[in-house]
Subunit: 437 residues, 3 copies
Amino acid sequence: MSTTATEDETTARHRPATTDLRGPLAGLIGRRRPGYSLPAPFYTDRAVFDHDLAAIFGEHWLFVGAEPEIAEPGDYVTVQVGTSSVIVLRDDDGDVRALHNVCRHRGTRLLDDRRGSTGNIVCPYHQWTYGTDGSLLHAGQQPAGFDKSCFTIKQVAVRRIGGLIFICLAEQPPADVDEMAERITPYLLPHDLTRTRIAAQDEVIVQANWKLAMENNRECYHCEGSHPELTCVFFPTYGYAVEDLPPRLLPAHARYLGAEAALERTCDERSIPYAAIEELHGRPTGFRIQREALDGGGESYTTDGTAASTKLLGDLDTARLGRLSLHIQPNAWFHFLGDHAVVFSLLPLDVDRSVIRTTWLVHSDAVEGVDYDHDRLTDVWRKTNAQDAALCQRAQLGVTDPAYQPGPYAPNEYQVDHFIRWYLERLEHNLGREADR
Amino acid sequence: MSTTATEDETTARHRPATTDLRGPLAGLIGRRRPGYSLPAPFYTDRAVFDHDLAAIFGEHWLFVGAEPEIAEPGDYVTVQVGTSSVIVLRDDDGDVRALHNVCRHRGTRLLDDRRGSTGNIVCPYHQWTYGTDGSLLHAGQQPAGFDKSCFTIKQVAVRRIGGLIFICLAEQPPADVDEMAERITPYLLPHDLTRTRIAAQDEVIVQANWKLAMENNRECYHCEGSHPELTCVFFPTYGYAVEDLPPRLLPAHARYLGAEAALERTCDERSIPYAAIEELHGRPTGFRIQREALDGGGESYTTDGTAASTKLLGDLDTARLGRLSLHIQPNAWFHFLGDHAVVFSLLPLDVDRSVIRTTWLVHSDAVEGVDYDHDRLTDVWRKTNAQDAALCQRAQLGVTDPAYQPGPYAPNEYQVDHFIRWYLERLEHNLGREADR
Amino acid sequence: MSTTATEDETTARHRPATTDLRGPLAGLIGRRRPGYSLPAPFYTDRAVFDHDLAAIFGEHWLFVGAEPEIAEPGDYVTVQVGTSSVIVLRDDDGDVRALHNVCRHRGTRLLDDRRGSTGNIVCPYHQWTYGTDGSLLHAGQQPAGFDKSCFTIKQVAVRRIGGLIFICLAEQPPADVDEMAERITPYLLPHDLTRTRIAAQDEVIVQANWKLAMENNRECYHCEGSHPELTCVFFPTYGYAVEDLPPRLLPAHARYLGAEAALERTCDERSIPYAAIEELHGRPTGFRIQREALDGGGESYTTDGTAASTKLLGDLDTARLGRLSLHIQPNAWFHFLGDHAVVFSLLPLDVDRSVIRTTWLVHSDAVEGVDYDHDRLTDVWRKTNAQDAALCQRAQLGVTDPAYQPGPYAPNEYQVDHFIRWYLERLEHNLGREADR
């Protein structure tokens, strides 16, 4: 008994439902004007969305959670990517594994809950029983010669970087994740996520295509007008070239220069890296990392900028470390602060609907009500997320309007442009691979 | 910097998503049997619906509101036509303008509300700021050389006729609207809509294809059985040839003849036109207008037929003017009475869902509770609308059934047939134009 | 005036919307591995679903209710099959008829309610009036020469077997229903459904493709783990080959053998047939019938196995008749007991949504609260249905996951395999017929 014959079929599902999309998609890509937002079908067409699921979310590394979410053997979270459900769990050996949430008998979904703890994984339909490594331990009423080893739960590639968990649904995940890991790990280490715990987690449904939600994240052109809480500490000069700064932002810029100089001294004294690395496109695992100063108290994402938790992360001796911000294509962004970390994962639900999961991590020893206040910790980003969701929904309504015509990105939206470039590169790469097949 | 290159793309959206529809659509048109209702796909197929949005709602004049709805500079209503949203507003010069409700930056929807009042139009995303004429006044953080004049909000053609506002989404709107305006204006003038105000407005969602809702409006074969309130004053003989009248309607016919003779005298004495003009097909802007007597008190759409408002419209000296009824393809019908006007606009929401907006207008000086009672004014048509919505929903369920087979229109449904003829003419015209491209 | 020309059009609706499906569908059929569950698109693809509606539900006999549901002339139930609505009614002559629920004028749905009683059928739109035989009796305002006999409500084939009502939407229903009727009638007669009445009816919406719901019904591999109430009396050894019985089931098997021997004696003494007939595939009207012993009290589907009603069905003198179980492809299963019958009809609503209607029938003379208790009668199957609905929903989620790969049916799932074989045979038959056209 062999499963080889039907493996092809599953792989086929990761490719677009119809190869006929290649022509139209190549045409659409060709219609994009550099520096301008995408033609409407990229945001509104279900066939493009299905292709995104396959070519973007099926082929790249996706951030799905932090290790403290699955601290003990048997702890798991389930992650929905399009119609894929993946169990990310700590196995009996303490390793992190990702398993497709699908029984090998007749395909039943194995685990329902968003998070939980399990021993062996028992399918509720016919009690096929799997170990936490996915191996089939027991299947009732099978004929002689039934080979359990052919019915292991399908594995998903998994990668841990500084306490962050990434999965990749592809058979051959992009190898450049190793090089990214090597470069960002020194930035992450001082915050030591392995010694944190989840203080809060929040899910926001955004009524917009996932790319509009990403575009929203990749610029702060909209921050001044929409995010009063965030801009208490997030310098509204973000993304501006100095020569383009409007006069009203010059005082903020002056503060920024002072804060940056202080931050660099603080970091240099502690050998903490801060310089920007920006490789948002031109590679499968596009990313950007930089430590930058915060306004106000300069310590954390609170409305006055002072730390939200008195227990600093790792072995840090100061909270005045600004924000270490990390962007990874296609679905994640992160802010590591002296006193906590707030990490974001975006996943597509439908062509016009996405979910953003926000997780706040504090030191393992931090006690709620003593070392930090839950509401003060989460206030800025909860409000900011809600403001962004409303903007993204408006944007979806607009691009769905036949009158929509792509418009120009402003200079301080250059990271939006880099995201779009990355996206189109990856589509073209994927179309090329399909053509080779 | 020029926007010419991408204009084509927007125009392209107004055409069917796939040119492959032309063959099937021509086939469908060919299958329609004259005098019979349409083959099912016209009412149920999403591709046909999308084509209707483009070829009918994208190419013809649509009634969207009465001038008193936007009495002052800055007053606006937003109108949804399929996925198009249009701002119809009175600009700072007092003119009526129609603007696509889409920001020229990244496409965000500009205004949310169904109605309101605005100064400059400020996009809530990045604060691009437009004048009420649509011109871009301000866009932050743009590079040198950014030409604001390239980013005016896209304009929609607008036409005012006797206080009624029409828009057309096409680049080249049908020119025959001028001739229609010339012919119907003398009928409308005595009711002087410019000196009215909105007494009530009502939206009814109809769970049916827009053409079923139009068909429902274009005949009164169903009135006797379904509209007890309406038939207090609307002669149930409507649409009948005299020789086809059933015996039970002969008393009503006798009353009708008497009322018509009286109405003609009343009109002749005042030089008020009443003769029917019927050009419901054979032209882009199909229409029909006629003043006809009402039963009962003969004055208004109330259950006893007497006027609902004591302040007559315009400078009228009598309320006994029956109903001036105007039908315009593809989406509107109107009744002008001595004491008020009730106007209807139908817009498609989805293949099986439409909205009918009903607006009651009274003299600007009429005071609620003094000159008219709100419930008495609106009672007949609110009930009639609800009755019609239920019938249309049943009709949609029926035509969606595979057992549906087009059936014959009765002689008193001839205006339904004229609507369908107009519809098919317009589709054929559109297919011909596409073939020429 | 003739309707011949347009009849073709309606027939055309029963075939797949696009003949282009033939190639992909043949490919999908070819991909199915014998003994394994179906490739995902069979459960998830809307085009396949539409084809199922046409090729399976449009071409085969469907169980839609029991005669006591429409006991008196004018009594009717409406049955929804995809977008088809069918009126199943007892006509004025006491015969059972099935009529498409569509007016011949403009296609309006005639009757709304799931069940009711009617005299003539009057369309609520324009009062076209039909007799209970579907003939058009009256249509107002028609021109001279209008031939009412051309506008009879379209008839649906109907077949009564031992008090069960089947309909077939096809022009040429499968003829082998006669032979099935002949063979199963002797089994059904002792339970005499014509002398029963409805004690309860229940509808459960299952969030799964109809084939997953059928697969669920066709095996009891899942019963031990999921149906604690059912397995009080339903032997968990169902479907096992003796040599495959696991040790824990040997005591149950011993009870089964004893109960079977007793049942055979009881039946032989009364000339009641019990032997299995199993022709689940290889014919259009696949079926299986067998009388088998029940565990516990051995009489009925109650948690202790004793009869739920003291009034036995027909002229039976004992309740210890086990369960007479009947399976008919594609949509029905039945259990006839000494004291009641419980019958199930499954109908597809959408690609991932189905409805199961369960009806409990007791002797016409049985009085609730005296001869039977409503809750005790319905308890086992209400709970079992709810448990199955949850399992089916999980199965749908699983097969929709791109990681789903068809898995092997266990030996005690052989009836699932027979159902799938039947299904694929029928698709192939249908594709062959289309190719001949």
